[in-house]
Amino acid sequence: MSVMIENLNWEEINPQLDALLEEYHGDKSALIEVLHKAQEIVGYLPEPVQEKIADGLNVSLSDVCSVISFYSHFSTKPKGKYHIALCLGTACYVKGAPDIVDRLEKELKLKSGDTTDDGLFSLEMVRCLGACGLGPVMTINGEVYGLLSPDKAVTTLKEITKA
């Protein structure tokens, strides 16, 4: 994790975060908005970023951390180059999403919530993506792929990483 933080390009990130915090200066109620945008800029929310936000919005670090840890959308771990979010909504569940989880975990050799050692893939279980008609569904870097089976999930992944 510490390695990952060092890998952040602060020179590039800092001015963007500064501009963001300038926009919401001292507005505590904007914490969640700011976290969203900061996560867009940085990719995740490591502690140095949290501290910057805490200072910028005049909230405590524990509060920032408390809010981050409450919402599943926020991550303090870097995501993989290919971030897979598999829907575990009811529709997807009854149509076999658990089998797909098993298969992907085996295929990528990681547990959901983690990132592979090479930083290439991360896998996350998410609540209903609202694409129930297409269940089971996953997103890879935000693109939705539907009507999956364990095999189709793996082939889809292979196709994308090949391209």
């Binding site: 949290q50 670090l61 408390s66 840890s69 409450f70």
Partner: protein
């Protein structure tokens, strides 16, 4: 105020609008069990132990947060209510590290009490415990054991609202929720000021003081050691509570006798160095007033407060008096003056202090607090509660102990030293001395009423022979913050400010008997001023032992020796 009529368990009661069912039930003579509820501080309806049945409501209501309404019919003990309450407590117990016999709160645990009150004899479920966060022993003051936490969040409310420190917060969510510093840090790596207010409000053993009882027993049993003890002003008006006395009892003499019986070689009093502090600090204030020093000057006796300003207002440290706290002045003198005077090797002296405070444990360990450079000036700090435990462990019957006197010379003090224990006390003591030094005439009345009481910020203008000195007093860090923000903004009108970290001052410190609440605080304050009145001498500059000390050893206030032994410096701190 509009009055509301309602019926609780068949009894008609009338209460003002806005009253909660819980409070109304008390009026009706019914006690409803609670766990998370802490009046004015934590009213969140989270634990669901105080559920009651309101006729016509779809679900049961948390009485601590539900306001009464006209014609309401409440049942506080129906089968539904009992079943639901039982469930909550069973659930809490199923996720609680139940090591009751070895728990520091055994016998004084609210969870235990509620379980007993509800007659819970078995727990229907077993299952996983909340995530296995380890016990946090990172600070010398406070130990956090998340496995005993029942997530009542009183600690968070106190830390956030009362103290504005926000060292801990609810982290994660659902079953994984833990109360913890940010990002899995330890308390030592957080902005925690070690005030221990969280310990006072914790209903279980999840937040406790770090005990040094065993170490002190060891020292007492070591014939090569000379073990001296000092007792803080606020301990004498509280320790009795641990032995069944009503809050507000003064048990100074019994405490001294108890300490002696435990085997301490000398029983001294921190009140002595409180008097000394007044002389040093009073002179420092006069010097700043006269020489254009940084104003307002702020007292520095309260270690939680020192931690707070170092962490949150690092740019305002110049405002702090450079005086060490009375505890540390005492420790420094024991290992220098006292050692020399009685021809003892300072390294063979063990200096123990009995404090109402958990932050004192941290203060004693600050590296700059060692005059010998070998051992800390104060070796072990015990809280009032720990002393009580030692007395119990020794098999002493506290209530039967005779009243005994402190040893001389470091046990001689005045009423001014005693009132250090209450909010406004340092200010009042200082004014008693400063007034007489500056005005050079006797005070008509020693009682500065403005300085007393539980109002958050108290202020006054004192006329010192034509010089108007504006003073303010704050207790509880949220109040201190208000004064600090003025200083930061450059709008502070004051010359001298007293800050005590804990609400009510040291009598409400994190090391005091549990429970400590507003009512009890007031009683301890009353006792403090009674003790003051009971003293033959009530002004610090009249303390003969202090005079002797200056004559024999220190020279004069703010002199070189004083500077070396009694003053210190502060460091701006930031997140690591």
């Amino acid at each position: 105020m509009k009055q509301i009529n309602l019926c609780i368990d068949g009894k008609e009661v009338q209460v003002p609008a806005g009253t909660t069912i819980l409070a109304a039930a008390e009026v009706a003579g019914k006690k409803i069990p609670t766990l998370c509820f802490l009046k004015d501080i934590n009213e969140i309806g989270a634990c669901r132990v105080c559920l009651v049945e309101v006729e016509g409501a779809r679900t049961l209501s948390a009485s601590c947060v539900t306001p009464v309404s006209e014609g309401m019919k409440v049942h506080t003990n129906s089968p539904k209510v009992r079943r639901a309450r039982r469930l909550q407590v069973e659930l809490l117990l199923s996720d609680h590290e139940m090591t009751c016999p070895t728990c520091i709160r055994n016998g004084n645990c609210e969870l235990q009490q509620v379980a007993e009150d509800l007659g819970i004899r078995d727990i229907r479920f077993t299952g996983g415990k909340k995530n296995s966060a380890p016990v946090d022993r990172s600070t010398p003051s406070i130990i956090r054991d998340p496995q005993k936490c029942i997530l009542c969040r009183r600690c968070v409310s106190v830390c956030t609202a009362t103290q504005t420190v926000e060292a801990i917060a609810a982290t994660n969510r659902g079953f994984d929720t833990v109360i913890a510093p940010a990002n899995g840090r330890s308390l030592a790596d957080s902005p925690c000021v070690k005030c221990g207010q969280c310990v006072l409000v914790c209903p279980t053993g999840a937040l406790i003081e770090r005990e040094y009882v065993e170490e002190v027993w060891e020292a007492l049993g070591d014939p090569t050691k000379h073990v001296v003890v000092q007792t803080a002003p606020a301990t004498r008006v509280a320790i009795g509570e641990e032995f069944g006395y009503d809050p507000g009892s003064i048990n100074t003499g019994q405490m001294v006798a108890g300490l002696r019986a435990l085997g301490f070689d000398k029983v001294f009093d921190t009140d002595f160095t409180a008097d000394l502090t007044i002389l040093e600090e009073g002179n420092e204030l006069l010097q700043r007033l006269n020489n254009g020093g940084t104003l307002p000057m702020i007292t520095s006796c309260s270690p939680g407060w020192i931690n707070f300003i170092e962490f949150f207002y690092g740019d305002e440290l110049d405002h702090l008096s450079t005086c060490k706290s009375p505890q540390q002045m005492f420790g420094a003198l024991v290992k220098s003056y006292y050692a020399e005077k009685y021809d003892l090797n300072p390294d063979d002296i063990i200096c123990v202090s009995i404090m109402p405070c958990t932050a004192k444990k941290f203060e004693a360990g600050r590296t700059e607090m060692s005059v010998t450079g070998n051992t800390p000036d104060v070796d072990y700090v015990l809280t009032t509660r720990e002393l009580a435990r030692m007395i119990k462990q020794a098999g002493l019957n506290f209530n039967e102990l005779p009243e005994e006197e402190y040893d001389a010379p470091l046990g001689i003090s005045t009423g001014a030293g005693v009132i250090f224990g209450a909010t406004g006390g340092v200010m009042e003591a200082a004014l008693r001395t400063v007034y007489e030094v500056v005005v050079e005439e006797e005070l008509p009345s020693l009682d500065f009423e403005f300085a007393r009481g539980l109002e958050g910020v108290k202020e006054a203008e004192v006329d010192l022979k034509g010089t108007k000195v504006k003073v303010a007093i704050a207790h509880g860090l949220s109040n201190a913050r208000r004064l600090l923000d003025q200083i930061k903004d450059g709008t502070s009108p004051y010359h001298f400010i007293e800050v005590m970290c804990c609400p009510g001052g040291c009598i409400g410190g994190g090391g005091q008997p549990i429970p400590t609440n507003t009512e009890i605080r007031q009683k301890r304050i009353d006792a403090t001023y009674q003790a003051d009145r009971d003293m033959p001498l009530r002004k610090s500059h009249e303390n003969p032992a202090v005079t002797t000390l200056y004559e024999e050893y220190l020279g004069k206030p703010l002199g070189e020796k004083s500077h070396h032994l009694l003053h210190t410096h502060y460091t701006k701190r930031r997140r690591k």
